[in-house]
């Protein structure tokens, strides 16, 4: 009998030095797909993802910037998605974190692979060129990955005293982590005011104040560049960053467009809620996190712990479960990857 799985698409920041070469390491056989991506990039006078993946050295300024990272991650993740053996895995739903939403659209065929590439490239470039401010990461769980009311109170207190010129909003709810979107004054205030807890508060390099009104200027640009015509009904249930389920043949494409190139850009992306809805409404046998990288594993596990899902009450429970019969499959981890391809 097939195992059921919720698939999660990664966001920005998941292709780092350790993942350099991921695409060709795992997907040298997916030549058509990679070639399609490369051709598209070449037409845009952009460095191809093959070149990026195969470059002699990893470079933050080359691989992490929005215009390149987005497409590179898209290529790796969608190639991973296509590598899942659907003869043994029944994918019951797809979601993603942040930019991973665009990937989820492509995975569920709400957009074609080509249009998916166009979306991530376009939005990645728009963000690279026009997004202001930045993001700061701070945990709300303790060392055991259990929600800490004390930390939440502390954060609330810091936010209540922010200076007038500081823009700060919650950008992403990411399991046991909050990601703040802020302008320069806000970033500076958060870095100064949030108690140090290495490596936090952590400012994300090359990130704008994503998922907040501070990047609202990008919305009309995205809508000008990308039309509703590229959307079609998904072939799998899609869970967005508000926890809404978009069902095959029951999806209002105009609403999906408004969400994708409106609400999703300029307001909170609640990844925690997406995971909660995914596990509760589809009760999958496993969660598959597409590569590259496996940084979503921790936040996803923290969300599971919050709901005591699968009996998980803390980090130790999760680690034990993962060592025995992993519930979260990170395709970036070879041993886990083998279970689903």
């Amino acid at each position: 009998m097939k195992k059921t799985a919720l698939v999660i698409c990664p966001g920005r920041g998941t292709y780092n030095k350790a993942e350099h070469g991921y695409l060709y390491r795992h997907h040298a056989n997916q030549t058509d797909f990679i070639q399609m991506l490369d051709s598209y990039r070449a037409c845009q006078d952009q460095i191809t993802i093959s070149e990026l993946d195969q470059s002699p050295q990893f470079s933050s300024s080359l691989h992490v910037t929005g215009d390149n990272a987005s497409s590179l991650i898209y290529g790796c993740a969608l190639a991973d998605f296509q590598a899942i053996d659907q003869n043994k895995i029944d994918i019951v739903g797809v979601t993603g974190n942040s930019m991973g939403w665009y990937l989820a659209l492509a995975a569920s065929k709400a957009v074609s692979l080509e249009d998916g590439a166009r979306i991530v490239n376009t939005t990645g470039k728009l963000m690279h060129d026009h997004a202001q401010g930045g993001q700061i990461v701070y945990p709300i769980v303790d060392d055991n990955w259990v929600l800490s009311p004390e930390k939440q109170r502390l954060i609330d207190s810091v936010l209540s005293k922010k200076p007038d010129d500081a823009f700060i909003d919650i950008s992403i709810k990411l399991g046991g982590i909050l990601i703040f979107a802020a302008n320069t004054a806000g970033l500076s205030y958060l870095q100064k005011s949030l108690p140090k807890q290495s490596p936090y508060p952590l400012k994300l390099a090359h990130h704008g104040a994503f998922h907040s009104s501070h990047v609202g200027n990008v919305v009309p640009m995205a809508q000008q560049a990308l039309s509703v015509d590229m959307l079609s009904t998904p072939n799998l249930p899609l869970i967005d960053g508000k926890g809404r389920i978009w069902q095959p043949q029951a999806t209002d494409l105009d609403a999906l467009y408004d969400y994708t190139f409106g609400t999703q850009i300029n307001s909170l992306f609640d990844y925690s809620k997406a995971v909660e809805v995914g596990i509760k409404e589809f009760a999958p046998d496993m969660i598959i996190i597409l590569g590259p990288g496996s940084t979503l594993g921790g936040p996803t596990a923290q969300e599971l712990i919050k709901h005591r899902w699968q009996g998980l009450k803390n980090k130790a429970d999760f680690k034990h479960r993962q060592s025995q019969d992993p519930y979260i499959i990170s395709m970036n981890i070879d041993e886990q990857r083998r279970r689903v391809i």
């Binding site: 059921t4 019951v92 009904t233 508000k242 926890g243 809404r244 069902q247 043949q249 029951a250 999806t251 209002d252 609640d270 809620k273 909660e276 809805v277 509760k280 409404e281 589809f282 009760a283 999958p284 009996g311």
Partner: protein, 738 residues
């Protein structure tokens, strides 16, 4: 043959595969109704989710409970779309599809998982916390109902009436002023007197152009457990009621339901009139899991009924309109079956309620924040309110007046308070307690109702759902009894079954108890309150004099407002006009009215103690306290006994600690209880004292187990001053007076 659920399941798949689908008559297209194809698919998803939940419940005995299902009634999904989220819905227990569809409109909600938790009575069920399989949720404006006998109709009417009062309060209320109330029920339960009373009340109001924006949704599946509804009965019964619109639709056809519901809701919203939406549907798989239809219906009729499965109608609509193919429909159906099974199996592993403490926790509703309590008006505002009556108010007055004055101040204090009942407005009440309120606060806050206690209490419950603080009056205690379930089964249970999400705070004034000379006989002198005493969470207050009454009424309002309690304020009619205690003209049973700005509140639960003697302690309340005070004087002056007389004031819950403390030093205890002997408060008090180690003599004087007769004979079955004196003397071993 007995497992009709499986047969229905297989029948759907077989007939879709064979394209053996019902003809849609009259033809109706989703585009004609301005609906998209995706809406139809979305409704179908809701229908099959509801259906698969029912099928799951039938095969998981021991894991799920209360298997009464929604199969055949899934067309209600369309009414959720036709209405607004804020149109509060009081639902029939077969309306899972409505709840699923409405919850889908709340982004990020988890309707399937929540429903599975409810089926399996998990403590994580977000509706009742595992207390019952109820349909509801504060986020979707659906107060949970456990009603199986249409006892939710009066409160739905009450909520509808309250919507039109909100514009007059100047306050924020939960329901927008253009809301409509939805209230669904079955054809069989529409025969219940409660349903009849509620529909009658809605018509009564609408007939005189009082706004009544409500849609009564009768889900007519032709049968109530095993008893057939006579053919045409619902239509004939409701088609020609005064001021009640009537719309019929085919409950098996989503488009027909949507069209009918849209029309009904539009009428109710725009014209503020009640509408009866007659949804003709079918009941599939019997009344509940344990119900074997073959015992009362022949197989041919069962199969004919099953062939009318509304899911087949939806399949036909989807195929005829080229929205889905048969394969796609079956794939969706099977995918949903697997999904429901997985989610259910997960839900079964979640925790259950396991201690009485946890189970009973929401009987005490969560208190509201202190800042949400309105501040007391100033003394200047109080004086302005009583400007016309200042001379009268300055004089010593009886209990009736003190209650009236206190109510006046309280209505100024609590802008959301509304007073209503039979004769309370223009007449000012049978005993003039509410006299003058109409002039001061107007007809939106002081209302005469029709003569129906179920409606009065239903109005209170419904209005409380909409942020009002209702103060209904039950004219005589005996009149409560035909409406008692509105307190027992509805008001008192709401916080429990909604795990504190919904509350319906109110102060129910009931004029009652014996001894009054004006009206004779049982129906105006009822002396049994047992029907109220065992209701969990209910508070019963009984003042014996004017000063206590005004102060206790203020405490009662505070308990209702701040602690969200349902409070019974039991007013002894015989003491309303009483002014003297020992001699004519001594005025000892009167007091000066003190406004709330000039005296402290009376703490909840604290009894009053008169005297500090230890020879005998009399425990009593209401008229019994008045009589005991008379007796105490005689016992002291003629028999040299030193007594203490304790007025319990708060009859439920009893302040056990205070009672034990007040009595422990006394050599004897006499309980004077004017209510009937059997199941009396006297019994409860005796048990309390013995359980707490009181080992000296206890006696009681109670009412006789009788109804109160007319004339002087009435006093023969009630405690009297002489009874009390004799019982006291007997208790201490002295001779009786003649």
């Amino acid at each position: 043959m007995f497992n009709r659920a499986d047969i229905i399941d297989e029948g759907f798949k077989r007939r879709v595969t064979a394209l053996d689908l019902p003809e849609i008559t009259p033809p109706l297209s989703h585009t004609q109704l301005g609906l998209s194809a995706k809406t139809l698919v979305d409704w179908f998803d809701t229908q099959i989710m509801s259906r698969q939940l029912d099928l799951m419940a039938r095969r998981t005995k021991g894991e799920t409970f209360y298997s009464i299902g929604s199969a055949g009634h899934e067309g209600l999904a369309a009414i959720a779309t036709a209405s607004r989220l804020t149109d509060m819905a009081f639902l029939h227990y077969r309306d899972a599809a409505f709840v699923i569809q409405r919850r889908k409109s709340v982004v990020g909600s988890t309707p399937l998982y929540d429903m599975a938790l409810s089926f399996s009575a998990s403590s994580e069920d977000p509706v009742s916390g595992g207390r019952h399989k109820v349909l509801g949720g504060a986020d979707i404006y659906v107060p949970p109902q456990t009603s199986t006998i249409a006892s939710h109709l009066p409160k739905a009417v009450g909520a509808a009436h309250s919507i039109c009062l909100t514009s007059k309060t100047g306050l924020e209320h939960p329901l927008p002023s253009d809301s409509v109330i939805l209230c669904s029920f079955g054809d069989a339960s529409s025969n219940h007197s409660t349903a009849q009373g509620a529909i009658n009340a809605a018509c009564w109001a609408a007939y005189q152009n009082s706004p009544m924006p409500i849609v009564f949704i009768c889900e007519d599946n032709d049968i109530g457990i095993s008893v057939r509804t006579p053919r045409g009965w619902i239509e004939q019964n409701y088609k020609n009621r005064p001021s009640l619109g009537y719309i019929q639709c085919d409950g098996r056809n989503l488009l027909s339901v949507y069209a009918g519901a849209t029309s009904a809701i539009t009428t109710a919203r725009n014209r503020r009139k009640p509408v009866f939406l007659h949804v003709k549907t079918v009941r599939l798989a019997g009344h509940a899991g344990a119900d074997i239809e073959m015992r009362y219906t022949d197989m041919a009729a069962i199969e004919a009924n099953e062939s009318r499965d509304p899911l087949l109608v939806t399949a036909a609509l989807l195929i005829e309109n080229n929205i889905l193919t048969a394969d796609e429909i079956l794939n969706r159906y099977n995918t949903m079956a697997a999904r429901v099974e997985r989610v259910a199996q997960t839900a079964f592993t979640r925790p259950k309620l396991s201690t009485a403490k946890d189970i009973t926790a929401p009987i005490t509703p969560p208190e509201i924040a202190f800042e949400d309590t309105p501040s007391l008006p100033s003394l200047i505002q109080h004086k302005a309110l009583f400007a016309q009556d200042s001379t009268q108010v300055s004089r010593p007055s009886n209990m009736a007046r003190q209650i009236g004055y206190a109510l006046t101040d309280l209505m100024q204090h609590y802008k959301n308070a509304i007073v209503f009942g039979e004769d309370v407005a223009r007449k000012g009440g049978v005993y003039s307690v509410t006299s003058g309120l109409l002039d001061k606060f107007g007809p939106a806050r002081v209302m005469d109702t029709l003569l129906d206690e179920q409606t009065i209490l239903g109005l209170a419950i419904g209005a409380a759902h909409n942020g009002f603080l209702p103060v209904p009056e039950i004219q005589f205690l005996a009149y409560l009894h035909n409406a008692e379930d509105q307190i027992r089964g509805e008001a008192a249970t709401l916080s429990f079954f909604s795990n504190g999400q919904f509350t319906n705070p109110m102060v129910i004034r009931i004029a009652g108890l014996g001894y009054q000379r004006g009206f004779g006989g049982h129906f105006h002198n009822d002396n049994s309150i047992n029907v109220l005493r065992d209701i969990p969470g209910l508070i019963i207050v009984c003042p014996s004099n004017g000063e206590d009454a005004r102060r206790m009424l203020r405490t009662a309002f505070d308990l209702a407002h701040r602690e969200r309690k349902v409070v019974i304020f039991l007013e002894p009619i015989a003491l309303y006009m009483t002014t003297d205690l020992h001699e004519d003209g001594d005025k000892l049973w009167t007091s000066h009215y003190t406004p709330p700005q000039s005296e402290t509140t009376l703490d909840f639960g604290i009894p009053h103690q008169h005297g500090a003697g230890k020879d005998v302690c009399i425990l009593t309340y209401g008229n019994g306290y008045y009589l005991s005070r008379k007796a105490e004087k005689t016992l002291k002056e003629k028999h040299g006994l030193n007594l203490r007389v304790i007025d319990l004031r708060w009859l439920k819950p009893l302040n056990e600690t205070a009672i034990v403390e007040a009595t422990k030093a006394c050599d004897h205890i006499l309980i004077v209880d004017e209510c009937r002997k059997t199941g009396s408060l006297a019994e409860e008090l005796t048990k309390l004292l013995i359980d707490n180690g009181y080992d000296k003599p206890i006696r009681s004087v109670t009412g006789v187990d009788s109804y109160i007769p007319l004339g002087p004979a009435a006093y023969e079955v009630l405690p009297s001053v002489d009874n009390i004196i004799n019982a006291t003397l007997s208790l201490i071993g002295k001779g009786l007076i003649s």
